[in-house]
């Protein structure tokens, strides 16, 4: 029997190692990397899914900014939605997390209740909120009527539809924000607060100078993931408004979906995906750069 050298054994072990990871690696290559590269290629073509792709170069990208009249609208709506959901979402998350961080009776039940919308299907919640927003029979306008206010057509008005969608998204995401900020609050050592109290700091000062700075890594996380999530949101407008009325709630991914599967312009749709990807990457880089100025890591002290 031939003796194996150490080098040979290592090579064999290495080969076996690759063999073991091969199914996963192949899966990633076939189901992730290949589609990503294929869609990049498709974004440079005109393709209706059933014929042969026709090479266009960067024309789809140019067309999005010069000829697609609703692409800028979709992008600006996405921006409005992102700002409208992230900033108040973070603020509300901090406020409610601080409330639920108090030693109040039933706080665990409250936490669970706030988290229910996070785990419930968005489709079901969307249908529920369509009824809440219903102009004549909905509970929201019924409550407003008690106070003598004639509620608007929440989802049926170009003026109110985006706001209504943002309110829904804030409500749905609040539980997640609360849990994350709650975890952040509970990781802040009580020693800081005790020391501050001894120094005579009042509650507001303690919040501004201890809580907020030490929550900044969590806030930063929420900001980055919030931007990504808002830019990619599809289900919320799809279920609540279908992008209407008159494109008032048309967002980037809905625009992409419509181009791909309604109009059969796969090249254009793929180009939208890459532009959205570029926007998200850019915003994330900006967030990281700016984050260095305001994110305070406790262990860095």
């Amino acid at each position: 029997m031939r003796k194996q050298t150490l080098h040979g054994m290592r090579r064999q072990e290495g080969f076996l190692g690759w063999l073991f990871v091969a199914p996963m690696a192949l899966g990633i290559c076939i189901f992730q990397i290949y589609p990503i590269l294929f869609s990049l290629y498709i974004s440079l073509t005109q393709w209706n899914l059933v014929g042969a792709p026709r090479w266009l170069g960067i024309q789809n990208y140019v067309n999005l900014f010069t000829e697609e009249r609703y692409f800028p609208k979709a992008m600006s709506n996405t921006g409005t939605y992102a700002v409208g959901t992230i900033v108040p979402g973070i603020a509300l998350g901090i406020v409610f997390a601080m409330l639920l961080n108090q030693k109040i009776a039933g706080r665990f039940a409250y936490r669970a209740i706030y988290f229910i919308p996070v785990v419930a299907p968005t489709v079901a919640l969307g249908v529920l909120w369509q009824w809440i927003y219903e102009p004549h029979f909905g509970i929201l306008n019924a409550v407003l009527k008690v106070f003598g206010v004639q509620g608007p057509a929440w989802l049926g008005s170009t003026h109110w539809a985006m706001r209504s969608m943002i309110i829904f998204a804030l409500w749905q995401g609040l539980g997640f924000n609360i849990v994350i900020f709650l975890a952040g609050l509970q990781s802040i050592s009580t020693e800081y607060y005790e020391a501050a109290e001894i120094d005579g700091a009042n509650a507001l000062q303690r919040f501004l100078h201890i809580t907020l700075p030490l929550l900044s890594p969590v806030t930063f996380f929420m900001l980055v993931t919030g931007v990504i999530g808002a830019c990619q949101d599809f289900v919320t407008p799809y279920i609540l408004t279908g992008g209407g009325p008159a494109n008032a709630t048309l967002m980037a991914v809905m625009f992409l979906y419509g181009k791909a599967f309604r109009e059969q312009h796969m090249g254009l749709a793929s180009a939208v995906a890459y532009i959205l990807f570029a926007v998200i990457v850019t915003l994330t880089i900006i967030n990281f750069r700016l984050g260095k100025k305001w994110v305070f890591y406790e262990e860095a002290v």
Partner: protein, 460 residues
Amino acid sequence: MNEQFTRRTFLKLAGAGTAGALLAACAPKAPGTVQPAEPTKAEGEVAATPAPAETKKLVFSSYTWSGYEAAMRGVIDDFVAANSDVEVEGQYIPDDYWTKLQTQVAGGTPPDVGISDYGRVVSYAKSGVLLRITDLVAGSGFPIDKMLPGAVAQYRWGTGDFDTGSEGADLWGLPSDAQAQLFAYNKNMFDEAGVAYPTDDWTWNDLVTAGKAITNADANRWGFLVPGWGMWMRGWFGWQAGGEFASADFKTATFDSPGIAESIQWMWDLIYTDKIAPPPGLQAATNPFMSGQVAMAIDGIWWVPDFGTVTDFEWDMAMLPKHPQTGSRVTTVESDGWWIFKDTQEVEASFRLMSHLAGEAGQKKFGELSYVIPSCFPEVGREWYTKTPPEHRVKALDNLVAESRKNFLTFFEVWTILGACMPPIDAAFVDGTDVQAAIEECNTVAQQELDKAWELFNQA
């Protein structure tokens, strides 16, 4: 030979085998393998190549919803019982059927026979995805002349045509049903307002007069429901007023032509001038006719089963009101249908299945099962249309037989063009802003999109 089959050897072979299998299973068909639409060799060979002893396996795909699948299976079972040499594997897709189908087509794995979309006939036929069935129909004696011409026209397309419907053009599918538009009215609301029920002599003006008598906006009770553009683009109001949405050669958009502009203005007036219809934003989340919010509605006949569940009020149907000057009450005959994909290996069996589904026997069965609205054969369909409720369901069929055209939403790039040009109209209807300005903007955009679509059409 003293080498043993070691664990490592086994793992190597297993790993390599798995990798190979994965690659083989996942290798997609290259896009662009579809051939241009040319007469298929199979068409002429159908009669010459039957293999009765061999079981032919067909894949059939369809969208589905509550009750529909059972009806479809019933019709397919009848076919299989009468055709023992054929097995049919049904793919029933509950959500987003067209996305699934499109993905199958792109992946090179379409079914043999499937429910068709009239809006994709031009692009699919032009791309060579569909089997041309002109000769199959002619050779089989399928009674196509007995079908409603408008329904069949949706599946006629000739090379170079921007839209379907050219007389004598090739057939790329057969219609599955004949969806009419219904004009429904809430009898209780009419009675309460002391207004006589609609008759076959009604014109648009009668609708407005009755609507004014019935409407009580403060109580959220309205005379009429203006359908969304997805419905009225089926064309009837504009066509009734003598208009066309595009020139005959489809080179020029004519949304601002007198008939079309008049009809759009009329619908806008119903909301903001006559105030007999709720603005779109104030419409109930459920169908406003079903919720008792409106007394009259024009919508698709497919609402009949749902309207039939209403117990709070009595309702009935009438023929569409006529245009006061032209006297036209033209409606759309709208039909999904069946098509055969060109890659099928079983042309003859596929056509047999399609003939059964679209034919009189299949249509009769669909009618009996109630979940599918028949039929392109008016006399077969009459059985469904004479059922109740409502008492005068047959009025929709009468309207269809008296005056109907093929669906308008069949031209090349239909959703791209309409998706671009309709939002200004939408905004005018939602916000009550200047509708004439919106019509002009709509037409300008439609023309730009039409020009682009023609460019694409000529390149493809």
